[in-house]
């Protein structure tokens, strides 16, 4: 029994790390920004945290804060040209950002170790510390929903012209979304670096970009629970259904197509909408 539980721990940790990355993608999508930059932020955060912790002996919590800050600054810088673009153009520009970060990681060999990456990194985080970090991030996401910023994001995503006509400064909110996405992506990358023993540039390429996008599309992009559910399902599925593990990408693809067709709001938001409609139907029938 204990053996079984301890074998689950790394998997649970992976779910938490993936959930942090999913939140980075979630924040931008909720605000109506089609950014795919999370993988790039994660790369910057991961190399930042690894260099701080392994080369300069910076304590783990400070290295993580550093990773988040690097991501946030990258997000803010990126938002200057990109908060005026929309849709596909934003997606393409952020894709280019991910490519640039990937190339930097490959060619800045003295700093990043190039294609060989960084090896023999100390494992500085796990278990409770990871749960604590996740708890802080989850609180921040709940706060976003409770104190009005979430509903402002929702308004911008659904009807930008209306948002503008209500005095919402959309450009400012898109900058905020980019900065938050950068901070969360950097933090997620930092977590990867401090528990994976090694880093290579390809960890932060196209597969990660697609993975975080599917976490949010599958889980939902309004409720903060959505990205966690999405990350949990897609991380655990290949482990639970072992025989399917070889067809992981195929299974993910099929799952995505099914969800987009039948549950376009994602698992959590579809359930929330459904419950609300049922409550509304009941309250209308009552009086």
């Amino acid at each position: 029994m204990i053996g079984f539980v301890s074998s689950l721990q790394p998997l649970g940790e992976l779910v938490l790390v993936n959930a942090c990355l999913a939140f980075s993608q979630y924040v931008v999508l909720r605000a109506g920004v089609f950014s795919l930059a999370t993988a790039g932020f994660a790369s910057l955060g991961a190399y930042g945290a690894a260099i701080l912790a392994a080369r300069h002996g910076v304590p783990m919590p400070l290295a993580l804060v550093g990773a988040g800050l690097i991501g946030a600054v990258a997000g803010l810088v990126l938002s200057v040209p990109l908060s005026r673009l929309r849709g596909v153009y934003q997606a393409i520009a952020t894709l280019a950002f991910v490519q640039i970060v990937l190339s930097l990681a490959l060619y800045l060999e003295p700093v990043t170790g190039g294609a060989m990456g960084m090896n023999g990194l100390p494992r500085l985080i796990g278990g409770w510390e990871l749960i604590l970090v996740f708890g802080v991030i989850f609180y921040a996401m709940l706060a976003l929903s409770r104190a009005g910023i979430g509903s402002t994001f929702d308004a911008i995503r659904q009807e930008e012209t209306v948002a503008v006509s209500l005095g919402i400064r959309v450009v400012d909110y898109h900058r905020l979304a980019f900065a938050l996405s950068g901070a969360l992506g950097g933090l997620g990358g930092g977590l990867m670096a401090l528990r994976n023993y090694s880093l290579v540039p390809e960890d932060f390429g196209f597969p990660l970009l697609i993975a975080v996008l599917t976490f949010v599309v599958l889980g939902g992009r309004v409720s903060p629970v959505g990205p966690v559910v999405g990350a949990a399902v897609l991380t655990l599925l290949p482990e639970i259904a072992r025989p399917l593990a070889d067809y992981r990408l195929l299974v993910n693809g099929v799952l995505m197509v099914l969800v987009i067709i039948y549950w376009p709001h994602g698992i959590v938001d579809t359930i929330r909408l459904h419950l609300r409609q049922r409550r509304h139907a009941v309250s209308q029938a009552a009086p």
Partner: protein, 253 residues
């Protein structure tokens, strides 16, 4: 917010070779309902979008009181006190009626960004206060029973009402109504008309863009008639109705 007059001075807008709006001047004083009518493609909606800051002027000036708002961005114009509705109702369909109205208070939020990011008590108190104010508006419009219904589930007439309540949440000086009773029957339209009169009675200016002649004639003290981007007549309803240029261009001879 202090009431102030909206003035258009020689406003023009060119799309490529087409002059969509040409040298238009008129004003809307506080508490006044001014009509803007004209055939399809006359430039009415272009004019609304020019005032609301969604389009840039090619020439001319738009003033609110003494302030020149010709080049202001749309959110700043909303914050200066100009609210608007849309030709087709635009609500946040999945959100509740209450949330749709509460978002109208956005520009009046005072708590700093950090307090809102961390959901500090002050920010949460402000959210609660905003929802109470929004609920008060719902009660005034007899919509309190629909507070938690998703806005998209309402009938068309009720959706129009939600849009109206949302503009009032801005505490505007002036409201631009872009065809507010399109697709409504006379009973629904008259009910909305009484609401507009009540709003104007509070000192808010209203610019009413409408196709429904009966409705415009019954509500407006002054009417401007737009044709091919130019004002061809303006004055009280009776005078405009009998103007030969208007009859030819719009009412049909």
């Amino acid at each position: 917010m202090t009431a102030s007059t909206l003035s258009l001075e020689g406003v023009s807008r060119r799309f490529g070779g087409v002059l969509a709006v040409e040298n238009v001047s008129f004003s809307v004083a506080p508490g006044e309902i001014v009509g803007l009518i004209g055939p399809n493609g006359a430039g009415k909606s272009t004019l609304v979008n020019l005032i609301a800051g969604l389009l840039r002027l090619t020439s001319g000036r738009i003033l609110l009181g003494a302030a020149d708002i010709s080049t202001a961005e749309a959110p700043e114009i909303a914050r200066a006190g100009i609210a608007r509705t849309f030709q087709t109702v635009r609500l946040l369909k999945d959100e509740s009626v209450l949330d749709n109205v509460a978002i109208g208070f956005h520009a009046q939020q005072k708590s700093p960004l950090l307090a809102r990011l961390l959901a500090l008590p002050a920010a949460l108190a402000e959210v609660r206060a905003t929802r109470e104010q929004a609920f008060a508006i719902l009660e005034r419009f007899d919509m309190a029973g629909f507070a938690h219904v998703p806005a998209g589930a309402l009938s068309y007439g009720h959706q129009r009402r939600v849009e109206m309540m949302r503009t009032l949440a801005l505490r505007p000086n002036l409201i631009l109504l872009d065809e507010p009773v399109a697709g409504m029957n006379d009973v629904e339209a008259d009910a909305l008309g009484r609401i507009f009169q009540g709003i104007a009675g509070e000192g808010i200016g209203i610019l009413l863009i409408e196709h429904n002649m009966r409705f415009v004639m019954s509500l407006c003290g002054r009417i401007n008639v737009l044709d091919s981007g130019r004002i061809i007549a303006s004055g009280p309803p009776a005078q405009v109705r009998s103007d030969p240029a208007v009859v030819a261009a719009y009412l049909g001879a």
